[in-house]
């Protein structure tokens, strides 16, 4: 069991999806428990795998028992251990959260299929994260993408359909670019296994340098579309705004960050630290500029939104900048901050989208004014939102501060103190738009009728509070994520 856990973590949600989809017609009420169990298994399994990766080193699972370049390996080190646990836990909490929301937002006959799509979505992202084979990564990328498009299109408003379509077009271009990049990589090295490519890359760089460079360019651009890195983020606000609340929650907390993970994996494991620093310093500088711009532009747009979902979507555009900046700086401290941000952002954005989903459930619309009354009528939800907002801003004792601290240290250590200004400006702008929300939550005019009149159902409340608590845990007991993230960063950079 323990040995085949890496395969099971992906396969169990996959089978559960097929089960719910096929049996859904007779079994409608059981779709949610099945999905919950499957994601719970994935969450527990991925935490166990992470534990093994921390204590025993890289976990390798060879599909079908074939040796590495011949067959497809699953390879979990600290970096994707972290991301795997993030995806699985977020999926579990999201599924726990979504029962009431799905009842409200999805037509009854489609609910079982909807859960199946959610499970396939999870499967896709788990697969991307866990695999050690670049083409296998592409296959799971497509599973994740197709389900994302459809999840967006399941929204109640017709804008969701077009948002889903636009996402499909851009997402497919991105995926095709990744496929082109993988093709070039295969052409130059003859291999698809990540570690094997890495080993043969120095030879490839001598014989076919331009092929390798082109490969890097296309993979980077393709993943940049997938992670909505400014200025390739145009699909994202619409997608998050019009998707059903449950899909927004799931996607916002996982999707773009997994693409960012894939970038880390390609840049530092497949192409290698030496390649990106010695051969492509200007490219990394360019990515750094994009990340810094994203950190400011995202919040700048978020400040002006009255639709909470759109506000949070633009916020994500900014937050992905934090994740990418660490990679672009190629510095252990900065990368520690960025890798820790996989968890920190999942926790804070998960909590915020969960709260917005509750607001939509209770008041019918994600308009910012519908937050009024939350503090009085739904204090638990409001508390989770407050903590998450503080974490997003980066107040000490929340996860967000830890991210910012290590990123800032990294900028100073690499002599790019100017970037500090971007980090701080981003924090200030984040404080502005989160403050607009919190003020309505806690200090709304008592004469106005509250828009949210009662607390969320218990499933939602438990999930939301867990997300909120995670923001605090990752801020107060930050050594848990930071120790792992720091070891992961050092391993990627080849330092010890």
């Amino acid at each position: 069991m323990d040995a085949s856990l890496p395969a099971l973590v992906v396969v169990v949600p996959m089978l559960a999806a097929i089960l719910t989809a096929l049996a859904g017609r007779w079994w409608r009420r059981h779709a949610w428990p099945v999905a919950l169990l499957a994601t719970a298994f994935a969450a527990a399994g991925s935490l166990r795998i992470l534990w093994r990766a921390v204590h025993e080193g890289v976990v390798l699972y060879r599909m079908g028992g074939w040796p590495v370049p011949t067959g497809i390996p699953y390879r979990i080190d600290l970096l994707n251990g972290i991301v795997l646990a993030m995806v699985a836990c977020v999926s579990f909490l999201s599924v726990l959260w979504m029962r009431e929301s799905v009842k409200r937002e999805i037509r009854q006959a489609g609910q079982a299929s909807y859960y199946a799509v959610v499970l396939l979505f999870t499967t896709g992202f788990l697969g991307i994260t866990i695999t050690g084979d670049v083409f296998n990564l592409y296959v799971f990328l497509e599973i994740a993408s197709i389900t994302s498009y459809v999840l967006v299109a399941m929204g109640r408003r017709r804008e969701g359909l077009f948002a889903g379509y636009q996402y499909l077009i851009l997402g497919s271009i991105g995926a095709t670019f990744v496929l082109i990049g993988i093709g070039h990589l295969y052409m130059a090295t003859g291999s698809l296994a990540m570690t094997d490519i890495a080993a043969r890359l120095s030879g490839a760089l001598v014989d076919h340098p331009s092929v390798v460079h082109t490969s890097f360019a296309f993979i980077t651009v393709g993943l940049a579309i997938k992670m909505a890195l400014f200025p390739l983020h145009s699909w994202q606000p619409g997608a998050y705004t019009y998707a059903p609340s449950s899909a927004s929650l799931l996607m916002a907390a996982t999707a773009t960050k997994v693409a960012a993970y894939a970038f880390y994996r390609f840049a530092f494991t497949v192409f290698g630290t030496h390649y990106v620093t010695a051969r492509l310093p200007q490219v990394m500088d360019g990515i750094m500029v994009m990340a810094a711009a994203a950190m400011v532009v995202g919040p700048l747009f978020a400040v002006r939104q009255d639709n909470l979902k759109r506000m949070l979507a633009y916020s994500s555009v900014g937050q992905i900048g934090y994740v990418v900046l660490g990679a672009a700086l190629v510095n252990a401290s900065a990368m520690t901050g960025s890798i820790a941000h996989f968890w920190n952002h999942a926790a804070s954005k998960g909590a915020l989208f969960a709260v917005v989903g509750i607001v939509v459930l209770r008041s019918g619309s994600p308009h910012i004014d519908n937050l009024r009354g939350l503090g009085r009528r739904a204090p638990w939800t409001a508390a989770a939102m407050t903590v998450a907002a503080l974490s997003l801003v980066g107040v000490p004792l929340t996860g967000g501060f830890v991210t910012k601290y290590y990123l800032a240290l990294g900028t100073l250590e690499t002599g790019r103190g100017v970037l500090l200004a971007f980090i701080l400006l981003s924090s200030l702008l984040t404080a502005v738009y989160m403050w607009r929300c919190l003020q309505r939550v806690w200090f709304a005019d008592p004469d106005l009728e509250p828009a949210v009149t009662r607390e969320a159902p218990w499933t939602m409340r438990v999930a939301t509070l867990t997300f909120g608590a995670a923001c605090l845990v990752f801020g107060v007991f930050a050594w848990i994520p930071v120790d792992i993230a720091s070891a992961a960063a050092r391993a990627l950079l080849g330092e010890n």
């Binding site: 359909l161 077009f162 497919s172 271009i173 698809l192």
Partner: protein, 133 residues
């Protein structure tokens, strides 16, 4: 130069096809046309992969038992099978994306009454303005 061009002719064609597809996706306003473009783009990539696996004078990678190969083919190499395998997967993925896209288009037509991008955008903008007012 000419020799290089000839020996990389496949690649030049695949780039040309890709650009045709990409241009159609980005510049065409009709949602179906974009999907046609996407199809061309994907097929171009398939061509690229198959070209990677090509070996001079190669044959189909179906292995003959030792010593039973027909005369004249004893030393003929086999094509690289791996790109073929990858592209089998990719073709299926491509058609899956097409199917989902078409289903979306059918829904969009039902909801908006049109499949022209500009008309849809205008309808959305109109609705936003009304929403604000």
């Amino acid at each position: 130069m000419l020799e290089f061009l000839l020996s990389h002719y496949n690649y030049a064609i695949y780039i040309a096809l890709m650009m045709i597809g990409l241009y159609a996706i980005l510049a065409r306003g009709n949602l179906v046309k974009k999907i046609i473009g996407l199809n061309i783009l994907q097929t171009a990539v398939f061509l690229f992969y198959i070209s990677i696996g090509k070996v001079d004078r190669g044959t189909v990678p179906v292995i003959w038992p030792a010593g039973e190969r027909p005369p004249g083919f004893e030393n003929v190499p086999y094509e690289n099978p791996l790109p073929h395998v990858l592209m089998l997967t990719a073709i299926v993925v491509g058609v899956s994306v097409t199917a989902v896209a078409l289903a979306l288009i059918v829904r969009i037509k039902a909801a908006y009454g049109t499949v022209e991008e500009d008309e849809i955008l205008e309808a959305d903008e109109l609705r936003d303005r009304e929403g604000d007012a």
